[in-house]
């Protein structure tokens, strides 16, 4: 007599748990692209950066830009994703949510155990923000520019 209600209750709990587990997989993706660019004082630039070049020059101060790495990943909200950056560095991105057409996320750029940048930002959806790592000791080495693009 009591087995049927118990079975039904167990079934409904199982169904609810399955639905709950499946829900984040359907509408929780954020496309993140991390492009590493080496900036130099002079020399040619990569053709794919031709549209960005004047803006990069104004912001960074260098004149020549070459792509040295690119990584695109579909990230899950709330989950930390790591992107490899030249020079043995790692960029961690934790997408937290959307607010007024902006992607809210935590971004951490690590050089070994040292956090070069640890920030909480709101980046316009489909927008790009930049992180620059300058080599002060040897200016001839130029700088490393990391372009972070996020699209919901």
């Amino acid at each position: 007599m009591t087995r049927r209600p118990l079975g039904a209750a167990f079934g409904s709990v199982l169904g609810f748990a399955t639905a709950l587990a499946a829900a984040p997989c359907t509408a929780t993706a954020l496309d993140v692209k991390v492009t590493s660019v080496r900036a130099f004082a002079s020399g040619p630039s990569d053709a794919q950066l031709i549209g960005l070049r004047p803006r990069l020059r104004r912001l960074v101060g260098y004149r020549s830009f070459r792509v040295v790495g690119e990584e695109s990943r579909r990230c899950t909200w709330g989950m930390r994703e790591s992107f490899t950056v030249p020079g043995g560095r790692v960029m961690y991105v934790v997408p937290k949510g959307m607010r007024e057409q902006a992607v809210v996320m935590q971004v951490k750029l690590l050089d070994g155990s040292r956090a070069l940048v640890d920030t909480d930002v709101r980046l316009q959806n489909r927008g790009v923000m930049l992180f620059g790592v300058d080599q002060q000791a040897k200016s001839s080495d130029g700088a490393l520019i990391i372009m972070l693009r996020a699209e919901d």
Partner: protein, 162 residues
């Protein structure tokens, strides 16, 4: 000017970012050097094709909604001017009475509609708001570009020595 020297400046030459004297030097060199001339033409072609694709995108935009908004705005403006003309034609005592009534109404009404008129500024494509920023780097600099709102967080690879 040698080909190497010109080569360093070709990108800036194409972008029109060189100062006048250097611009002339590069142009003179490219005029007499087939290799540099070919490079300039190639870079110009890439730039033009990029500009062309942007123009095509702009041309494909549907601006039908814009015209209807402009049209309704013009209609509102016409109606406003007509009503002003009517007011001017009215006798002075009627105009004074109407102004007094308007002033009474304005003073007794809370300015709720004023709040609605404040439209939020349209965000720029790369607009970034930084809620928190920490760094172990010896140097931390924040730079912003106005047109697109692009933000750069610049740090140095060297530590702060702590």
């Amino acid at each position: 000017m040698t080909c190497d020297e010109a080569g360093e400046l070709l990108d800036a030459f194409i972008d029109g970012e060189l100062p006048g004297e250097q611009l002339l030097d590069v142009a003179r060199h490219a005029g007499g050097c087939a290799v540099c001339d070919a490079t300039v033409r190639k870079l110009s072609a890439v730039r033009h094709s990029l500009a062309g694709s942007l123009d095509a995108e702009a041309a494909s935009l549907d601006l039908a909604g814009v015209w209807s908004a402009v049209s309704s705005g013009m209609a509102r403006e016409d109606a406003r001017r007509t009503s002003i003309r009517r007011w001017r034609a009215a006798p002075a005592w009627a105009a004074g009475l109407a102004m007094a009534a308007g002033a009474m109404l304005w003073l007794s009404t809370p300015p709720a509609h004023e709040v609605q008129r404040v439209a939020a500024a349209r965000p720029r494509p790369n607009q970034t708001v930084i809620d928190r920023l920490d760094s172990d780097s010896a140097r931390l600099e924040l730079r912003r570009e106005r047109k697109y709102g692009t933000t750069l967080i610049m740090v140095s690879a060297e530590g702060d020595g702590q």
